[in-house]
């Protein structure tokens, strides 16, 4: 065949391919400003069988981050405008339907690709969240960065207080607030995909971040009765005694069984829980001083790697051994005694610390076993290793039998540093 005809053929093929490709491509093309990006989704119980979904979407106005309330006057609840975002609430039979409904009012397509968190009201979470989470995860655009929270009270009210106090950027504020989990350990960091996998899995139960609005009424006024100092108060979110600043706060872990909320761990229990799962790497712990009542010892605790979990089954009863090594730095000893100069006291202190952590973890494990029968520690993953096939494991029904497991916790504390002062001088007592 003549080369001219061939080259024409070649050109035609290339052209057809290019057309096909560009048609498929351009069909999906979407400009950034054609969409609005939802930052927060809140889910409440609606009337009857409906759900009330609240969306917080960012606006593209230049002077969006003006720090307080709406621009058009009136409260955020009236106008829906808050710190460069717009909050809208829709009542719909399902989550997806609510997006559709909102689309018809928001003028631009709602995108979930940048959503930072989804918040369920506690009331709703106790009834079960599964059937609303499920369709959400089928959306490809729903990022893995979405966190799952359960809030005390209504999610709608919570979102109305969701504003940025430090800088002008709300998304940054939200993202960084989750990273505080690694610093304090007072609440876990739970991603939607992890939450969803746990909902489906036969070896673990889901958890979520516990959150609430603090109305600033927990801070005791002057002149109220003075009690003894309690180093580990049992607090729910919204009860931190504080005033000013951001109203929303996260504290503790919500425990699910199946897709229903069954209980929560407070902030101290959450730390033990995170330590036991290897998610808490480093933080400060305040212990009662065994030698002088009323004084505290402040420790900086570093988990030496993830805890080691070994399991075996005997007569279908699961035995679980959890071992962990903690590096301890002494941050402060209020009675200023130098444990390092006295070897026996030093060993005693190590023992005391070990007991403290073992007791703490055992208490959390007891709670999850006895009160909720919910394996949030993912022990099931290790137990599954004792079965040859997945059907065998599923037949064993681990989630139901978690209650029966004999769990032994072993902690080795290793005091490595005395803090920055090696030989602190005692403070002269008042004469």
């Amino acid at each position: 065949m003549a080369p001219k005809k061939l080259s024409f053929l070649k050109g035609a093929i290339v052209l057809v391919c290019a057309c096909c490709l560009s048609l498929t491509g351009c069909y999906d093309a979407k400009e950034i400003d054609q969409e609005v990006f939802t930052l927060v989704i809140g889910v409440d119980k609606g009337t009857g069988n409906m759900i009330r979904v609240t969306f917080q979407v960012s606006t593209y106005k230049e002077d969006g981050g003006n720090g307080g309330g709406s621009q058009n006057g009136g409260s955020a609840a009236d106008t829906g405008e808050l710190d460069g975002t717009v909050i809208s609430t829709v009542e719909a039979p399902s989550l997806i339907e609510s997006i559709n409904m909102l689309n018809s009012a928001s003028n631009r397509q709602i995108s979930l690709s940048q959503t930072k968190m989804i918040i369920f009201s506690e009331e709703y979470a106790r009834e079960g969240v599964g059937r609303y989470i499920e369709p959400l995860t089928r959306f490809r655009e729903v990022g893995e960065l979405m966190r799952v929270l359960v809030c005390r009270g209504r999610a709608e009210d919570y979102i109305l207080e969701n504003r940025s106090f430090i800088g002008g950027s709300l998304p940054k504020d939200i993202e960084l607030s989750f990273l505080q989990s690694a610093n304090t350990g007072y609440y876990p960091d739970v991603f939607l995909n992890e939450f969803y996998v746990r909902l489906l899995s036969p070896y673990a139960q889901a958890i979520a971040i516990y959150t609430a609005i603090n109305d600033f009424d927990s801070l005791p006024e002057d002149g109220m009765e003075k009690g003894i100092i309690e180093p580990h108060p049992d607090l729910k979110p919204g009860e931190i005694p504080r005033k000013g600043g951001n109203k929303r706060e996260m504290l503790g872990t919500v425990v699910f069984s199946g897709d229903k909320m069954v209980g929560y761990l407070n902030q101290n229990e959450t730390r033990f829980y995170l330590l036991a799962t290897g998610k808490y790497k480093r933080g400060l712990f305040t212990l009662d001083d065994p030698k002088s009542a009323g004084d505290f010892i402040v420790l900086e605790v570093t988990a030496h790697g993830a805890p080691k979990v070994t399991t075996f089954l005997e007569n279908e009863i699961p035995y679980i051994y959890l071992e962990m090594l903690l590096d301890i730095d002494i941050a402060a000893i209020q009675n200023r005694e130098n444990y390092f100069l006295n070897p026996s006291a030093y060993l005693e202190l190590e023992k005391y610390i070990e007991t403290y952590f073992v007791r703490g973890m055992e208490e959390v494990i007891r709670k999850t076993q006895q009160e909720w029968n919910s394996d949030i520690f993912e022990f099931g993953k290790k137990i599954a290793g004792n079965f040859w096939t997945i059907p065998q494991f599923e037949e064993y029904n681990w989630l139901e039998r978690y209650r029966e497991a004999k769990i032994d916790v072993k902690v080795k504390a290793n005091i490595s540093r005395a803090g920055y002062y090696f030989h602190p001088r005692p403070i002269e007592p008042e004469k």
Binding site: M1, P3, L6, L9, K10, I13, L21, S22, T24, G25, C26, D28, A29, K30, E31, I32, D33, E35, F37, L39, S58, Y60, K61, E62, G64, G84, S111, S113, Q114, K116, E141, G143, S169, P171, K172, E175
Partner: protein
């Protein structure tokens, strides 16, 4: 072809895709050599050299006539690089293919003799004068000066030269005066015995019997001297035209390092090179290119170091250019490069003698065209195009860091606008939320889709660049900067483009300027638009496709037989000054992919003093 049954379209398509069938001519590929082979070649090269020295000089005269045969021999030798295998029969056959068959068959010897007679210098003044006058269109052409002389022995003669091309002092003092004052000597001694070349006092003379060669010498600026009765014309070197001196480089400016640049004069340029490489093996060969302009072109290489196959290939290409005239290195580049459709240059342009010398010392060939201050260097790879003249002058850490920056610039200049476009039209989830909202805010009042914005800004930027070059002097530079600032600022405030895009376009433009090679930067400018299109149409998938296509094109490129992507594909020995620059004393080997005859640049230990005890 016609005997076979015609195949169906799909089959032909398959053949086309699978490279079974290619419409491209045979490409020259530099064969790989191991050390033993390179030694053998080195020896055979030496042998050839000594043989050549024994051949008398008059071989040059017959060159023109035998050119066809030599070409044929060369072409038959090159493709495989295995000249020994080709038999004489093949040579003849190939030569036969190339020669044009005249309509009326003539015996080859007859054709030759007829041509020789016509071109022969006549033995009387008048006929020779007439031939020259005819050749130069005198009297219409006023440039040819013919000075009639009558020698003391009453013989007539003439001098012929081109006005303006010659040094008149030389003609007056060293040609005319000795010729006319010859009387004194002639009276005392025997006049007849003294040859013409012994009378004139110029440093170089040639006796030519072919009138065409005489004409070409006159065109170069030499003077032809003829005395009645001789059967040759004496050519005296009198070149002396106005020329630009050696100046500082204009486009390849360095802070440290020599500040000399090539000029338009071929001789000066070669001298500049010789001053750097004082080596008797530095060979300069001349060619004439352009059938109407007869532009002189030189190739310079280091005999015994450069791979002779590369030299032969360069010569083959230069000798086989049939064009009316060539005026710039760019034109020549286009005529000899491997793939004229490639966006990337496969020949390095430089105006710096030091860089050319360094390339020659690595085993490359420099091609210098008379009348252009740019020297072409072959073969080159992509890495060589990323080198700058200052690389050798700086400390190696700095150079290495700078080369990294240049590779980043290369990637940015090609990809950034396409990448931005793909992100903002297809992959919103990949942009951090804060940035996404910022981009959306900036774009809120812009009515155009991003692709239009990008194209507008890119076009504006290209306009500024082009206008900046055209507008003369300082105004041009100022316009470039001011234009970019004002255009960008105004476009943003008029809500035609978003401010993020100004950053993208400015960054891309800067990266493009950071590329050290002018031709490469041009290629990248065009490629950028391909990537913009790919990103706009198919997002990251399109970018990936375009990148694959680009890679395919690049690995397919060759520069005088050397793969353009050498050291990556194909993998060759890694040198110490190819991608990164290591300290000079570590650079023991020359680039492997050039296959030089002598790959050792310096001994294993270059700093011998480190092995000694301090005194």
């Amino acid at each position: 072809m016609s005997e076979k049954k015609p195949k169906n379209i799909i089959w032909q398509m398959l053949e086309l895709i699978s490279y079974k069938k290619t419409s491209r001519p045979k490409t020259f590929i530099l064969p790989e050599m191991d050390e033993q082979q390179s030694k053998q070649r080195q020896e055979s090269n030496k042998r050839q050299e000594s043989e050549q020295q024994q051949i008398p000089e008059n071989r040059q005269q017959s060159k023109g006539r035998n050119q066809a045969d030599e070409q044929a021999k060369d072409t038959s030798q090159i493709p495989g690089g295995q000249e020994q295998k080709h038999t004489q029969a093949m040579v003849v056959e190939r030569a036969g293919q190339r020669r044009r068959i005249p309509k009326k068959p003539l015996a080859a010897s007859e054709v030759k003799s007829a041509r020789v007679e016509k071109d022969q210098v006549k033995t009387d003044v008048n006929s020779n004068l007439q031939v020259l006058r005819q050749a130069f269109h005198v009297p219409e052409n006023k440039d040819l000066i013919i000075r009639d002389i009558i020698l003391p022995n009453k013989k007539r003669g003439f001098l012929a030269f081109l006005d303006g091309m010659v040094n008149k002092i030389i003609i007056n003092e060293y040609i005319l005066r000795p010729l006319l004052e010859q009387e004194a000597t002639s009276q005392s001694g025997n006049t007849k015995g003294i040859a013409l070349e012994d009378i004139v006092l110029t440093n170089d003379t040639q006796s030519l019997k072919n009138i065409n060669e005489v004409i070409s010498e006159i065109l170069k600026g030499n003077t032809a001297v003829y005395v009645d009765g001789l059967d040759y014309i004496l050519i005296c070197e009198t070149i002396g035209f106005e020329k630009r001196g050696v100046e500082t480089p204009k486009t390849e400016i360095v802070v440290k390092g020599p500040q000399e640049a090539f000029s338009e004069n071929l001789r000066t340029n070669i001298t500049l090179l010789r001053r750097i490489i004082r080596n008797r093996d530095l060979v300069t060969e001349f060619f004439e290119i352009g059938e109407k302009s007869s532009t002189v072109c030189a190739i310079v290489y280091l005999q015994g170091l450069v791979n002779p196959l590369v030299v032969r290939e360069v010569k083959r290409r230069l000798e086989n250019i049939k064009i009316d005239f060539v005026v710039s290195a760019g034109m020549l580049e286009e005529l000899i490069e491997d793939n004229p459709y490639s966006l990337f240059p496969t020949i390095l342009n430089t105006e710096r003698p030091d860089r050319t010398a360094a390339s020659i010392m690595e085993g490359r060939v420099a091609i210098i065209l008379d009348g252009t201050p740019i020297v072409l260097i072959v073969p080159v790879t992509l890495n060589a195009l990323m080198h700058s003249s200052e690389d050798a002058a700086l400390k190696w850490h700095n150079t290495t860091a700078l080369r990294m920056v240049r590779f980043c610039a290369f990637a940015i200049a090609i990809l950034l606008p396409g990448f931005y476009l793909a992100l903002t039209t297809y992959h919103h989830e990949m942009i951090p939320t804060e940035l996404l909202i910022a981009i959306a805010k900036a774009k809120e009042n812009v009515p155009f889709p991003t692709i239009i914005e990008v194209l507008l800004m890119e076009l504006g930027f290209e306009l500024i660049r082009e206008a900046g070059i055209r507008i003369p002097g300082i105004v041009g530079n100022t316009l470039g900067i001011i234009g970019a600032l004002i255009l960008g600022e105004a476009a943003v405030s008029a809500n035609i483009v978003s401010p993020v895009l100004i950053i993208i376009v400015a960054l891309t433009g800067l990266s493009n300027f950071a590329l050290p090679n002018y031709s490469l930067a041009f290629g990248v400018r065009i490629l950028r638009f391909c990537f913009i299109f790919a990103g706009a149409v198919l997002g990251f998938f399109g970018l990936a496709l375009a990148a694959v296509l680009l890679t395919l094109m690049l690995v397919n490129l060759k520069s005088f037989g050397v793969p353009f992507m050498s050291i990556v594909a194909p993998r060759t020995k890694r040198g110490k000054d190819i991608v990164l620059r290591w300290p000079l004393w570590m650079q023991e080997k020359r680039p492997d992919f050039l296959n030089p005859l002598d790959s050792q640049r310096q001994p294993e230990i270059a700093r011998q003093w480190t092995q000694q005890d301090p005194e």
